[in-house]
């Protein structure tokens, strides 16, 4: 069952990736577009395909996979389906780190300063969330802690952007809060890919430990799970992926909530299978959202987070309602 699902999701990612390459305001014919992408046979078309659409599609896959996998991993560790990097302030804190690196000039001085700063912001948020809503914190602690962390990170991001000498900075608060892949370049791909890849490898290797945690922390430890090591791996893995994704695409919420929720029944609820499935599912969701923003409002930069929130927020309410009905809130 798991293998069929993974194959299906892979096919979906491939199809949407191709569709993403073919959607854009330049209105290129598909054959002409693909020929320009592969052979580089027409100057303008090649520039559009290789420098604008290709990095955008690759980033949609990377960012989506990062958010989906990070959500599934956090949920596996906290055993709570409401744990999502965007909702609990991890993305927001990563955005704050990125904005600080950009506005202090660190990002311009060192290539890696931007992803590392975003990663540091994310680490801080994950640590706060784990400290407050760790093993004995219920859903309500998780959500409240998330609200506080998100609010603080959002406020500080706005403050930093408003203090910037740059006339455009203040208007970019929306980008950092909602996320967008418009006009990204291969530079951003090279910046984010290593961090997301590393985080993915590290987290995917923990699948069985998350499985063991299904039975609670005591049982997991008695089955040989080194909890402290797992926590550290989770913090660094999630922060690395969410940090890099946010640094290049802004904070996109709800991906890590929606994707594992939809896929969980399809993988028999096993966290170890849910991890790779959620990575692929996240890529599917972000690719779809990024195609939709270009189809709905081709001439404007509609933010990705707007679409993911429209899909995700009702689901979030539904989950809260369900959790409440089960008396776990």
């Amino acid at each position: 069952m798991g293998r069929g699902l993974v194959a299906g999701l892979l096919a979906l990612v491939a199809g949407l990736f191709a569709a993403s390459l073919l959607v854009g305001p330049a209105g290129l014919a598909p054959v002409q577009a693909l020929s320009a992408l592969i052979w580089g046979d027409a100057l303008a078309e090649t520039l559009v395909m290789r420098e604008i659409r290709l990095p955008r599609a690759i980033l949609a896959v990377l960012v989506g996979a990062a958010l989906g996998l990070a959500g599934a991993a956090m949920q596996g560790y906290l055993r709570n389906p409401l744990a999502e990097p965007g909702l609990i302030g991890v993305s927001g804190s990563a955005a704050l780190g990125a904005v600080l690196a950009l506005q202090t000039g660190l990002a311009a001085a060192h290539v890696l300063a931007l992803p590392f700063a975003a990663l540091s912001g994310a680490v801080l948020a994950v640590l706060i969330i784990l400290a407050l809503a760790g093993p004995r914190g219920g859903s309500i602690t998780l959500i409240l802690a998330g609200i506080a962390v998100s609010a603080l990170a959002g406020a500080l991001t706005s403050l930093v952007l408003n203090l910037s000498p740059n006339p455009f900075a203040a208007s970019e608060i929306v980008f950092w809060m909602m996320g967008s892949l418009q006009d990204r370049s291969m530079t951003h791909v090279w910046l984010a890919a290593p961090f997301i890849g590393l985080g993915a490898v590290v987290l995917l290797a923990q699948g069985r430990k998350f499985d063991a945690l299904t039975l609670g922390e005591d049982a997991a430890v008695s089955m040989g799970v080194h909890l402290g090591r797992l926590r550290l791996t989770l913090v660094l893995g999630v922060a690395s992926m969410v940090g890099a994704a946010t640094a290049v695409a802004g904070a996109i919420g709800f991906v890590g909530l929606v994707v594992p929720h939809i896929l969980r029944p399809l993988v028999g609820a096993r966290p170890s299978v849910l991890l790779p499935a959620s990575a692929l599912g996240g890529a599917v969701l972000v690719l779809m959202a990024d195609i939709a923003v270009r189809v709905i409002l081709p001439t404007r930069d509609l933010k990705l987070g707007v679409l993911t929130a429209i899909v995700g927020a009702p689901l979030f309410l539904h989950l809260i309602y369900k959790t409440r009905a089960q008396g776990q809130l």
């Binding site: 854009g24 330049a26 520039l47 950009l102 455009f168 006009d183 370049s185």
Partner: protein
Amino acid sequence: MALRRASSSLAAALAIWAGAVGAGPPERVVSINLCTDQLAMMLAAPGQLVSISRISQDPNVSVMLEQALGYPINSGQGEEVFRLQPDLVLAGQFTSSYTVGLLRRLGVEVVQLPIVSSLDAIPDAIREVGHLLGQHVQAEAVIADFTADLAGLQQARDTPPRAALHYANNYTSGENSLAHEILTAAGFANIAAEAGLSGGGTLAMERLIMLMPDLVISGQPYPGASRSEEVLRHPAMRGLRDRHAGHALADAEWVCGTPAVLRAIARLADLHEGG
């Protein structure tokens, strides 16, 4: 609402008229807009202009920095402007309506000057400010210089090179904008107009590249960092410029309908020889 606005503008008009008839030129003029700052500095008698907006002392956007440094500055807030006890406040069309309304309720005379979106409208703007300040002679002299210099710079070409204005956030200017007229006056065709854009707006980078301009005129970089400006350094744009001339020109000279646009036209015209 409309009636109230009409009656308040009538009141403002009456106030101007009464001021003009009763007390001669205003003695204390405060400007709270970058463009009115420039016109007022050109035309005001010594001591007549008591404060200009803070932004005029910003070297990134001011075309008259040296002169501006000689004036006290304001940040355009009602309370602060009122304390200067002005006879006349010069504001822009899009100055905060709350500020303008507050000052008017306090009995301060505020005139909002419209955005200038064509070269032809520049003499009118100069004339209007000259009239408001009671500096008719000075205004006519500035207009005469401007008209003569513009005629000297304007060039018509059979096949004008196609240029793209490319600013942060892929912002550009199409027909019916000052930037378009500056570009046209300097002998270029504006690709945003080809794309059907009227006024200011965004042109997706993909479309800009597909139009293959001969020249890309990018906005100047500002201090600090912004995602909006990243498009100016986007590899696709750099790819385009590998085959075309690209030049960052001072935004400041393009912003206001003042004689400073002549400098923008002159810089552009030089690109014909260079490119």
